[in-house]
Every structure is written in structure tokens, then in C-alpha cells.
Symmetry: C2
Subunit: 329 residues, 2 copies
């Protein structure tokens, strides 16, 4: 069978081969409905871009790697999905590597060890620091995501953590809460996220003239649902009074909702709860979760733009956030 060509696809839709090429390569400007019809025709006719030829022409493989700690954490899974979507718009294939936040895995992938040649790497490190990356030899472009980075000579996209945490705490204060538990302090491990969000919590209390009560600051091991449950159970067992909860991520906030429900406490009447991340699950919890929503789509597309830019500036780029007000606070 003759191989389907760009022209076949164009003829099928009634557009030029150049327009089809624009859709495939994410270049030029093509109307959305036309894009959809071209993509349908590509599927229907089984057109396959000749990627080897394309790579030779462009000097690019059309592939990038994305290394994240843990796909079973919904925040990372949704972030990965956003990056894959942004890349698909540019006909770039994303190959995702789960590092489990282990230094060895992060180091290997940042050095390009054990993975094929890619056009670039987006790395969300947990264990590696800027120091570890300072002597990186591999010349593949890299963009870092998240908080566990510090000063770095590489471009870095992150959320304005302290500001967003301050806004979340302030949101509870404005609704009249005065005894706000902070769930997510960390004594060990990679704890930059935790430290920044705790600093935001403290700044909001200070500004409101409320003294900090160490009994309200709850340490966790990880940022999982079970940590949220344990934090609430701990407060209740110790008899620490509280009327608000700022959980440093949505998973822990959802665990807190669960534990509060089990204890017969009403949310938000008895305890108001706010989370951080805006994962889809929080839209369907009982009650639906009020949360800090970082712009994950912007995070994905910014990381990609920086990665593909010819001369990306080193240093931090922050994406905007908003407070999404639902029923839990």
C-alpha cells in the first residue's frame, strides 16, 4: 500500500499540504475547527509523519523527557498531563520518568544516563539540590520545576509558595477563624515546599496580630492523605482546640476532611479547611474543597517554552495562583 502523504490528508479535508504540516508541527495559525478536522483525517487515513526525516532536517528528535517523583500523587499526574498536552500542541512526544524522588534516579536522568538522546529534560527534583546540579556535564537543555532547587544556573518554574500560603491562611482568618492548624511541617527530607508554605502561614498570623501556637503546627512524613488523617487525629487526641485547617496540599486536606467527618465534626461549621494544588478530586469531595489553585497549564507551557527557547534565562519564573472558594472554608 502506498504510504499516506501530507497531500492525501490535505485533499481529504480540503486544505493545502502546508496547512496539514502546520497542524502537525504546531506552526503557523490554523483555525481550531480545521485543526480538529485535519487531526481526524490523520487518524482516519493513518498518516504517519516520517520522524527520522524530520529529525534530520531539524536536528531535533521531537522528544523530551519529563522526570517527576511520583505519578500516584494526583498533583504530579495532573501536571504531567498538562505538560503532555502543551507538548502535543507542538507535536512533541513526552517520555515520562518516575524517579520516586530518589537522588540516584534524579542524578542519572539529569546526566542523561540510561535514557536516549532527547531534545530536552523537564525535571521536578525532590532529592537533588542546586549544588548537585551545579556540575552537571550533560549539554541537553534542562528546565527545573518546583521548590527543591534553590539558586540554580538553569531555568526554573515554580509557584509563588509563600505568597500563596499566606493568602490561604488569610482566607481562613477573614472568615473569623483564630485557631488555625498548619498541616505539613517537615523535620527531615526534602522540605523546601513545607518551609515556604509554613513561612506564608506565619506571615499571615503575624500580620493579623495572632500569636503562633506550636501545638497547631503539625509535622508530617509525606504529603499524603494518611498524613492529613494522622494530623487531625493527633490534634483531637491531644485536646488542642482548632477552628481552621490549612493543609499544605490537597491530598492532606482530603485526609483531614475524612478524619474530621469520622470524629463527627462539621466542615466548615466547626472547622474550616483549605488545601493547596486544586487537584480534580477536591471538586468532588464532601464538602467540596476550598484550595489554592496554581496555574498548572501555565506551569506546563512555560516549562516547555523555556526548554525549547534558544537562549532561556536562568533563574526563577513563577506562575500565578488563585484561591478557589468551594464549601470547606
Amino acid at each position: 500500500m502506498r504510504r499516506t502523504t501530507l497531500k492525501d490528508v490535505g485533499d481529504h479535508v480540503g486544505v493545502s499540504a502546508k496547512t496539514v504540516s502546520n497542524v502537525i508541527n504546531g506552526t503557523g495559525w490554523v483555525r481550531d475547527d480545521l485543526k480538529a478536522r485535519v487531526r481526524e483525517a490523520i487518524d482516519e487515513l493513518g498518516y504517519r509523519p516520517n520522524s527520522a526525516a524530520r529529525q534530520l532536517r531539524s536536528g531535533r528528535s521531537g522528544m523530551i523527557a519529563l522526570a517527576i517523583p511520583d505519578l500516584s500523587q494526583p498533583y504530579f499526574a495532573e501536571l504531567a498531563s498538562a505538560i503532555v498536552a502543551a507538548a502535543a500542541d507542538r507535536s512533541i512526544t513526552v517520555l515520562i520518568n518516575q524517579t520516586n524522588g530518589q537522588a540516584d534516579a534524579e542524578r542519572r536522568i539529569s546526566d542523561g544516563v540510561g535514557i536516549p538522546v532527547m531534545d530536552g529534560l523537564i525535571l521536578s527534583p525532590l532529592a537533588l539540590t542546586a549544588g548537585d546540579l551545579a556540575d552537571r556535564q550533560d549539554s541537553t537543555p534542562i528546565v527545573l520545576l518546583g521548590e527543591h532547587v534553590g539558586e540554580s544556573r538553569f531555568p526554573h518554574v515554580t509557584v509563588e509558595n509563600a505568597g500563596a500560603a499566606r493568602a490561604a491562611t488569610d482566607y481562613l482568618l477573614r472568615s473569623g477563624r483564630r485557631r488555625i492548624a498548619a498541616i505539613g511541617a517537615q523535620a527531615t527530607g526534602p522540605r523546601e515546599t513545607s518551609e515556604l508554605r509554613l513561612a506564608g502561614y506565619r506571615a499571615a498570623l503575624r500580620e493579623a496580630g495572632i500569636a503562633e501556637d506550636p501545638a497547631l503546627i503539625r509535622e508530617v512524613i509525606d504529603f499524603r492523605r494518611s498524613d492529613g488523617v494522622q494530623a487531625i487525629d493527633g490534634l483531637l487526641a491531644e485536646g488542642v482546640p482548632f477552628d481552621g485547617v490549612f493543609a499544605f496540599n490537597d491530598l492532606m486536606a482530603l485526609g483531614a476532611l475524612h478524619a474530621l467527618g469520622e470524629a463527627g465534626l462539621r466542615v466548615p461549621e466547626d472547622v474550616a479547611v483549605i488545601g493547596f494544588d486544586d487537584i480534580e478530586e477536591g471538586r468532588y469531595s464532601t464538602p467540596p474543597l476550598t484550595t489554592v489553585a496554581p496555574d498548572k497549564a501555565a506551569l506546563g507551557s512555560l516549562a516547555l517554552e523555556l526548554l525549547l527557547s534558544d537562549s532561556p534565562a536562568a533563574g526563577d519564573t513563577t506562575v500565578p495562583y488563585q484561591i478557589v472558594s468551594r464549601m470547606s472554608a
Copy 2:
């Protein structure tokens, strides 16, 4: 600086270089606590296996590809995590590709187009069928996951869908429910999962001597939380009486819990709800979700074993499931 060797790592832990090699390559038998200490020492000393040399010796790249429809669906994210974990035990790197269930993306990756040379591919297709794969030319080993496959000349790992769906429906019948809504019928798109689970639902009703009521069988577009909400809203708006819900996946069951709560109905007193998948979220919902738990870890390790086997048998392998009884049914 001298490169860290296997012997350095072994000396640090007090074991032989061979034991360290066994841990790295997932060969031999090493005690779990010793494995953990070797891995810590690898991290601490910054040991890096020389993968190029390893590949030359073994003729393998140490990489496999995993292609799944959508990482923002927790079932797929958890399955990917299970496969990555099983592969890590064998020092295999998994590169994950999100296909969005699009035929073109699935065809490209099954043909090895646009991705680097790998030791194998685990593909969970949504749009492709066995027919589409029948003329696959690429010689890279492939293992298929899930339901959207049919008869195939490739090894295929799946859950016993009809049997599990029958058991779920039967679970509701045994608790005295007689008007059980089935959420997840599909009129279009890749609908094998839906058809098998609907067949199981029907078999259980038949066996209990209960006539099927078409008004209780709710069609959905996708398998997402919002589909579960819409199905419940539809039943209530039409005034269809029901005392049980079998949702064909946990996400829809969680959407159903949400909609039932909004409508002021008590779960399980007024309506018992059972899901399918056992995603982590269901352990923390209000009330916690009763569900069919397919053995995802077994699914991951079986797929990997078949992929790495020298002569894998074509045809289906099913993994076991169990009903996990929580509070919603």
C-alpha cells in the same frame, strides 16, 4: 575524583561487590533490609552503573516504554506507578507515553515511530484494536493491557471484567438491594470495558431472577467523576427509583457519592454504592467506597514478566480481583 565502584559500595555496607550487583540488576536473592542499605549506600556514594557497558554486554538498553491513555485518570496513574516499581526492582527504566487514547498516537508508538529503541513496550490501547495491531511490523516485544484488544497474537494482561462486575452487582443484591443502577454503559467509542461490565451486571440480575429495567442503565461519555454526577442527576430528574448503584469505575462512583450527598440522600442507608478499580481516593471518600479491587501490582509485574520473557505465550492472562468492603455498600 575517582569513580565510585561496586566494590566501594559493597565495602561501605559490608557485603561483596557481587551482592551489590545483584541488588542493582534484580538478580539473585538479597535480604530486604540489605537491599535497602545497599540502595542507601549507592545514593550516598553517588555510584552510577555504567549503562552503556551494561547494554553492550547484555544487548539490552535497560529501558521499556509504557503507553497509557491518560495519567490524570488515577487508575492509569496508579497502574503506571505499579509498573515503574516492578521495573525498578529489575533496574529497568520505564519511559511513559500518554496517548490520550488517540489512534494515531497508539499506532505510532506500537510501530516504534518517534520513540527511541527500547527493550519492549507495554501498551494499554483505547482506540486501536487487535485488527490494527495484526500487521504490526516492529519487532520490539509488546504486551497489551486492558480490554480494548480482542483476539490478538500478542500477550495480553487484563482483569476478569465480567466476573468481577457480576460479583459487584451480586454484593449489592445480597444486601437486599433490588433497584440497582448501572453507571457506565457506552453507545460510542472504545467500549469493551463497558460492555463486559454491563454483561456481568446483567448476569447477576438474571441469576437473582430480577428483570432488567432499561431506565436503570445509564449511558456515559467518559469514565470520569462528572459522568457519575450526571448519571445520578438524570435518575433523580426522571424520578427513577433506585436503592443501589454499581458504577463501572471508582471515579464515577465518587461522582455518584457527591451527587447523592448534594441531593440529601444517605449512603448506604438510602442508596448503596459500589465502584471498580480501588483507587486510593476511595479509601478516604465520605463514606469510604466499597469497590472491586483488581490486583494492580500483579498486573504490573505480570506484564513486565511477559515482556521480558524469551518466549511469551500470546493470548490472555487475567489477574485476580477481590471485593473490598468499606462503608458505601
